[in-house]
């Protein structure tokens, strides 16, 4: 795999103009970034695998797209996926210091640490008999599609930096996020929609802020950034025609822009002009395809009910899940849903019940819907937060926890109906088959057919990668 190469990149876009007009390079600005670093090997061959910079897969391609259901705020593994009877017995007792000594602690700094047992019952679900909470009955019902990782570790204990880490593999600003990496490596399969789309929803408790940095392309060109669909106003910024401008006027304006740009190209050798013309066409197509995307008329009442949607397009997680399926159908490479809830420092039981109402049914419906449409097999779903929550109580809740927590995956290439790894008897440290965030990224990339070591970009003299200098694909997760 070669690092990002702005020259061949532009050439791939400007191929025709390049060949016909014998333009021989780029305007200074466009190539300045890395000119000397770049290979001028030309555009990648057309292939079903990739419309990005990877020519051929490094591994068998199991998944073609990712849906990341990001449970922002950090849901508690001990209430959901990781049953700890010993912890329950210890409830209210001092938490053994042997576990916590020298460990990073967030809001429980300088306080007496006490164990807090899980608040809900666990039961065995599905044919696989996977042990999971009883407050997620819908997700439980698709347990046989899931692979729960119970031994994930992260490095960052505060929301902001933990989000940066799970999205980009680094806390250094300007690192591209995983969706941007996928788009850069594989390109988009859709022409009329962005290849990487982000949707957000807000829970009723435990919200924490998120940042557009989490879907930023960082040092990669902005064409790889995640495009946020707004829950209010226009779905995509500037997607609607201006007030008082109808579609045919807009079309005429764009035609006229093309004409002007075409004339410019005749007398000025600058390959950016041809790109510009293409981007206006793409923009116009997006203007028409987004309304179609937002029109849920074709969805049956049964489907809508199955997701638990109260009102179409109400900005709820449930509505966003159905949108995720529609985006997946249209070939969007990376779909990221943020549900801002789960930061349950207090009133955890109630918060979990509300969280379950908002998220359980829709998550399960999405998995089932994709399965019924034959799309689950090549769609990789990741469900989880930026970190977990402490086995120690914090009043009526739990604090942030990074040493071991749970997420689950489903779909494309995932070992369905299994669990992987384990934490210790109190749910503090991941101790068995420990997976760190870089490993998770490496695994996801491998399922997409990519060797994580070979997806890189030259920046400040370094081969920047999603997995930094670490990361090992986890075979135990992959079917």
């Amino acid at each position: 795999m070669k690092p990002y190469d702005p020259i061949s990149h532009a050439l791939s876009i400007n191929r025709r103009s390049f060949l016909t007009k014998s333009a021989y390079g780029l305007g200074g600005a466009a190539f300045a970034m890395l000119a000397a670093k770049a290979s001028a090997a030309g555009a990648p061959p057309a292939s079903g695998f990739s419309k990005g910079f990877l020519r051929s897969p490094h591994f068998p391609v199991k998944a073609k797209r990712v849906i990341f259901l990001c449970m922002a705020g950090g849901p508690p593994h001990l209430e959901l996926f990781d049953n700890k009877p010993v912890l329950k017995k210890l409830d209210g007792q001092p938490f053994p210091e042997s576990f916590t000594k020298g460990q990073q602690i967030a809001q429980l700094q300088n306080t007496v640490l006490k164990a807090r047992g899980g608040s809900f019952e666990f039961k065995k679900w599905g044919k696989s008999g996977m042990e999971m909470t009883d407050i997620f009955p819908h997700i439980g019902s698709v347990a046989d599609e899931m692979c729960v990782i119970r031994s994930l570790k992260t490095e960052q204990i505060n929301h902001d930096t933990a989000h940066a880490f799970i999205n980009t593999g680094s806390i250094i600003k300007g690192r591209p996020c995983m969706g941007s990496w996928l788009l850069y490596g594989l390109g988009a399969e859709t022409e009329n929609l962005p290849g990487y789309i982000v949707l957000t929803s807000t829970g009723r408790t435990g919200q924490q802020p998120i940042s557009a940095r989490q879907w930023s392309s960082g040092v990669l060109p902005s064409k790889y950034q995640g495009i946020q669909f707004q829950s209010k106003g226009e779905a995509v910024h500037y997607i609607g025609n201006p007030e008082g401008v109808c579609q045919s006027t807009q079309r005429q304006v764009i035609d006229e822009i093309r004409r002007l740009n075409g004339q410019l190209a005749e007398e000025t050798v600058d390959p950016e002009i041809a790109t510009r013309i293409a981007q206006y066409e793409m923009a116009f197509k997006m203007q028409s395809s987004v309304p179609e995307l937002l029109d849920f008329k074709s969805e049956s009442a049964k489907t809508i009910e199955s997701y638990g949607i109260k009102e179409i397009g109400d900005g709820s997680f449930a509505s966003n899940c159905l949108m995720a399926r529609r985006l997946a159908e249209r070939g969007v490479r990376m779909i990221q849903l943020y549900h801002r809830a789960w930061d349950l420092h207090g009133n955890l039981e109630n918060g979990m019940k509300m969280g379950a109402e908002d998220v359980d049914k829709a998550t399960a419906a999405l998995i089932r819907d994709l399965k019924e449409r034959g799309m689950l097999e090549d769609t990789l779903i990741l469900w989880g937060g930026e970190f977990g929550r402490t086995p120690m109580g914090q009043g009526s809740g739990r604090d942030h926890h990074i040493a071991g927590y749970s997420v689950f995956m489903a779909g494309g290439g995932v070992k369905a109906g299994t669990t992987y790894g384990a934490t210790d008897e109190l749910g503090y440290h991941a101790v068995e088959n420990v997976v760190d965030v870089h490993d998770l990224h490496a695994t996801m990339l491998q399922l997409m057919g990519i060797d994580h070591r070979q997806l890189s970009v030259k920046y400040q003299g370094l081969d920047v990668r999603l997995t930094g200098i670490a990361g090992k694909p986890v075979n135990g997760i992959m079917a």
């Binding site: 014998s22 000397a36 990073q104 967030a106 910024h237 500037y238 201006p242 006229e256 410019l264 510009r276």
Partner: protein
């Protein structure tokens, strides 16, 4: 090995014209060999001792010439066949071949041959180009048509390759280019015409001088530096709260406008606070050290974040002043460059004295006593308050406007008998009142009215007060039931929020226009605080109360109140008062003066969290400034009974009879208040006892096993300065070394970046990595020459800019050269100029300028808020944010003043590749995306610009060639016949459409806050479409 091996390939292709390709050419270490070694050898045979294999070092010649572990000698100068390196490069044995399999690296045959030839030629080394001392090179002979030494260097290279440079761009395009490059603004049609007609030999230079003397030059240069300095309006982490820092931006603009030497510029930013008797400006400049991201997140660990801030600062400073990447050395010695971990931390150590908090809040589990009471709305201390030119100007403008308003009223009543009489009557009355009451106040008698049930203890007590204990039960009476006229009232305890404590005041002979509460000195312990609030009413004979509104209040001593770090100065119900060693008073101005009827009483509801002693007075006099009402000099002037603008103002407020005039006065006065008397706060550097800085193994802040390091300059750069146990170096020492003759890298880094601004690419294209993984410069001697000129001739920025934009090389046509496709595919030899898409801020400025909508009245000032999609800040919390677009003419200020929200940067800025400025950014991307198309097509800013441009064209005199004018405005050239035909048809079609759909035209006219046009909306709507086309054209957003 990676099949594509990008780096080598690129060197062969990208720089093929530069490398020693002919067998008889001398192979140069820095140009030809070091890049190969850096990418393939140094990882195991370089600087980092820990990863070194076979005890072999290839980066030092003397080591490479020694026998290795196996006894073989890596490099035998002159004898490639005896050199182990060559054997290994050509080996067919998988265990022997280098680079080895694990490295995934490979060398091309060409590269191997180059290596061989280099050894055959004697294997001479050169120090890495950017680290070696600067030496002035010999300037080659000036080529024909050359203007300055830049052309000599560029020309020599072109001549070598037998390439002729491109012709000079035509004058229209040239002026547009240099205007956009120097100001970020296009020329006006008049400027273009004047230049075209000026045939003097100095015509171009005159234009350059004119542009560089413009105050907008500093604005344009600031955009360049603010990316480097990571200037933003918000802190970046978690709640992404606002920070107060805009005066730093003003400093930067001003520095470029006044051509502050770069060494001073460096000193002031890194160490302005350490200069002898630092000025306010120097303290503002030192705000640079505070531009790292900061957090206020609950649960964050101060130590962890101090480590993050420290590391970011090293990355930013090293990138800004060394053009180098120190980042890797946070965890380990750099693999490719001689940057050691100790270098990283000893650079960090210079900044260990910067006053800061890891977490900018006082949480119970992580107490920070100094930050007690600091909430999400509060600014980020320490700050400096300084006189700000922009605010002072606005303050003066406001005051002048108010005076003019009063003067105009004074004059206008002469023509109106009724008004004149009323004014005279008021003056007389006031005179009489002031004679009877020289203080301007009446202190009536009254009684304690009633007391509601006591509040729940403590809970209802306001925050931030030391007096909350006083409201705990049991509830004692607050005060005696009666009080006499003129007597102070002593509360026996605090009156809490919600406890309806009120007193009724006896009617006074005169109307009541304002209410004053006095709290004498000693009423509270020194520096104690009390929250006070007041509201008013009128009780009728039956005791039924109706509220009396007030529109403004102020107090002589109060703690500031913040709304997202902006100090709120408008209407408030109360304050936290901090008791100084002085009397305190507060004044409320009633919305309308009241005159009590018989049996009516004036009711004052008063709350105070402390058991104050106080006095309530009333006055018939009002004014736009609450504290003026009882000001001695003001009253003396008023007492003369002479009509004047000042007395007219007071009359207006005190009588409130001329409501429209009063509203206008209030609006102006409000605007004045928001200028804070011309002062602004800005984050600054305060030096305190330095934190201990250690080398953190693997960057882990919890690991304290690493050695403590003191400040010292990088070990691999010449003229190193190190702290001793006796003498600790300071930030000022760092700044002085950076700009000393010893240090070669800063001049190189800055000149390289500056070059990119005018030529599209740096001489070394990797602007932020002048190390061995970067790119050797295309014209090393030119970069050397520029750097020496810069360093030795006073760090004179304008001089260097002028050199760059007056060269023949700069002035060439920017149409790329198909004939050089093979020879110089990336135009690195500069046989033509490079086209450049405008930076995000200038995309905006350009459109607003063309429309005639841009606000260029002022330079500097607070950030502004252009239209932004609704709900965009919805995911931001602590505090929740609502974006309110600027409603005055600051809406159309330049892009560099746009509010820079790091977590949710304005979508227009993102779409045009502006960085969030989380960290130092030396080079922006220049992408070309559908989002850019959508922004230019549909963002209200650009739609509004188009409709205002249309109106501008349509208000020209009949007979004006409007389409021609539109092209002169937008792209600085004459329109072509084909363009005219095509746009003409568009206008005809659209006129027909809008004639049939006038409601649509009306809607379009309402996009944006700019006034609707006076011209026919249908015509404007049709022309708006043509203007949208022009503003969207590639030519309009590209500097050719």
């Amino acid at each position: 090995m990676r099949a594509s091996s990008p780096i080598f390939l690129s060197l062969c292709i990208g720089l093929s014209c530069l490398a020693a390709e002919q067998p008889d050419e001398t192979v140069r270490f820095n140009r030809d060999i070091r890049p190969i070694m850096s990418d393939t050898c140094f990882h195991c045979h370089g600087f980092d001792a820990k990863s070194r294999k076979g005890k072999l070092r290839l980066d030092l010649r003397e080591d490479a010439l020694k026998a290795g572990k196996s006894g073989a000698i890596a490099i035998v100068p002159g004898k490639p066949e005896e050199s182990e390196v060559i054997k290994r490069l050509y080996s067919q044995d998988a265990d022997e071949v280098m680079p080895n399999k694990e490295s995934h690296k490979n060398l091309t045959e060409k590269q191997k041959a180059l290596f061989k030839r280099w050894i055959a030629q004697g294997a001479s080394y050169e120090p890495h180009w950017s680290y070696k001392p600067l030496e002035a090179p010999t300037v080659p002979a000036m080529p024909a048509g050359g203007h300055n030494p830049i052309d000599a260097f560029v020309g020599a290279k072109l001549a070598e390759k037998k390439i002729t440079p491109s012709a000079e761009a035509n004058k229209e395009r040239l002026l547009r280019r240099v205007s956009l490059d120097l100001l970020g603004l296009p020329p006006t049609p008049e400027e273009t015409a004047a230049f075209v007609q000026d045939h003097s030999p100095t015509a171009y230079e005159k234009q350059v001088d004119r542009l560089m003397a413009s105050p907008h030059f500093g604005e344009r240069m600031a955009v360049w530096w603010l990316d480097i300095a990571r200037f933003a309006d918000t802190v970046g982490y978690h709640g992404d709260q606002n920070q107060r820092i805009f005066p730093y931006r003003d400093y930067v603009i001003n520095a470029f406008n006044t051509n502050k030497p770069f060494d001073t510029f460096t000193q002031e930013q890194l160490a302005g606070d350490l200069l002898p008797n630092p000025t306010e400006e120097q303290r503002v400049a030192s705000g640079y050290n505070r531009l790292n991201m900061m957090t206020r997140e609950g649960g964050a660990q101060a130590k962890e974040y101090l480590a993050k801030y420290g590391a970011e600062r090293v990355r930013s400073v090293s990138n800004a002043w060394f053009g180098s990447t120190f980042g890797c050395a946070e965890c380990h010695d750099h693999k490719f460059d001689p940057i050691k971990s100790a270098d990283f931390y000893s650079l960090q150590s210079f900044f260990a004295d910067v006053k800061q908090w890891g977490v900018y809040a006082d949480y119970s589990y992580t107490p920070e006593p100094e930050l007690k009471g600091v909430g999400n709305e509060h600014p980020f201390a320490p700050e400096v308050r300084s006189k700000n030119a922009y605010l002072s100007k606005k303050d003066q403008e406001g005051r002048a406007e108010l005076q003019a308003h009063y003067a105009q009223l004074t004059q206008s009543i002469q023509a109106d008998d009724q008004k004149r009489t009323a004014f005279a009557a008021w003056l007389k009355e006031t005179n009489e009142f002031l004679t009877a009451h020289p203080s301007g106040l009446v202190t009536p008698s009254g009684s304690f009215l009633h007391k509601a049930a006591p509040p729940a203890p403590a809970k209802a007590a306001p925050k931030n007060t030391n007096a909350t204990a006083a409201v705990k039960k049991p509830v004692a009476p607050v005060m005696p039931t009666e009080f006499a006229a003129g007597e102070p009232i002593q509360l026996k305890r605090g009156v809490a929020k919600g406890e309806d404590f009120a007193m009724s005041l006896a009617p006074t002979a005169t109307p009541i226009a304002s209410v004053r509460i006095d709290i004498p000195k000693g009423s509270l312990a020194l520096d104690a605080t009390s929250n006070i609030t007041a509201r008013f009413g009128i009780a009728d004979a039956k005791g039924k109360e109706r509220p009396v509104g007030f529109f403004l209040a102020d107090a002589s001593h109060r703690e500031p109140r913040y709304n997202s770090t902006v100090e709120a100065v408008d209407i408030v119900t109360g304050w936290t008062l901090k008791m100084p060693d002085a009397d305190v008073h507060a004044v409320w101005l009633l919305d309308s003066p009241i005159t009590l009827k018989k049996d009516e009483k004036f009711i004052v509801h008063f709350e105070s969290s402390a058991a104050l002693s106080f006095k309530v007075s009333v006055s018939p006099i009002s004014h736009h400034d609450p504290l003026k009402v009882t000001d001695g000099a003001f009253l003396t002037a008023l007492k003369t009974g002479q009509p004047s603008p000042a007395s007219m103002g007071s009359f207006l407020y005190s009588r409130a009879s001329d409501r429209p005039a009063l509203e206008k006065a209030r609006a102006i006065a409000s605007r004045i208040r928001w200028q804070y008397e011309g002062f602004a706060w800005s984050m600054t550097t305060k030096s305190v006892a330095p934190l201990t800085v250690r080398v953190l193994p693997r960057g882990n802040f919890l690991d304290v096993s690493g050695p403590v390091v003191l400040p010292s300059t990088p070990s691999f750069l010449p003229g190193r300065r190190e702290s001793t146990p006796e003498k600790r170096l300071t930030r000022l020492d760092l700044a002085n070394w950076i700009t000393s003759k010893d240090n070669p890298i800063t001049a190189r880094a800055v000149m390289n970046r500056l070059w990119q601004q005018y030529y599209g690419a740096g001489l070394s294209a990797a602007l932020d990595d002048l190390g061995s993984q970067g790119e050797p410069p295309s014209h090393p001697e030119l970069l050397e020459w520029l750097s020496v000129e810069f360093r030795d001739k006073g760090w004179d920025m304008k001089r260097m800019v002028k050199l760059m934009v007056t060269s023949r090389t700069y002035r060439q046509s920017s149409s790329l050269r198909p004939d050089l496709k093979e020879l110089d595919p990336n135009n690195r030899l500069l046989a033509s100029q490079n086209p450049r898409r405008l930076d995000a801020e200038f995309v905006r400025d350009n459109a607003l300028f063309i429309a005639g909508l841009i606000n260029l009245k002022d330079v500097g000032g607070p950030s502004v808020k252009p239209y932004q999609p609704a709900g965009y800040y919805e995911p931001i919390q602590f505090p929740n944010r609502t974006y309110i677009a600027s409603t005055d003419d600051s809406q159309w200020r330049r892009g560099l003043y746009m509010h820079w929200q790091r977590m949710f940067l304005h979508p227009m800025l993102i779409n045009f590749d502006a960085p969030a400025r989380d960290e130092c950014t030396a080079l922006r991307n220049y992408s070309n995306t559908p989002q850019q198309a959508l922004t230019l097509l549909n963002d209200p800013t650009f739609v509004e610009a188009a409709r205002v441009m249309a109106a501008r064209l349509l208000t020209t005199p009949a007979g004006t060639d409007r389409l021609a004018l539109s092209f002169r405005l937008a792209v600085g050239r004459e329109i072509k016949a084909s363009e005219r035909d095509s746009l003409g048809k568009l206008i005809t079609d659209q006129t027909a459409y809008y004639k049939a759909h006038p409601a649509e035209a009306a809607k379009l006219m309402k996009v944006g806050f700019a006034a609707a046009p006076t011209a026919d909306p249908i015509e404007v709507a049709a022309w708006t479409q043509a203007c949208r086309v022009i503003l969207n054209s590639h030519e309009a957003i590209t500097r050719y």
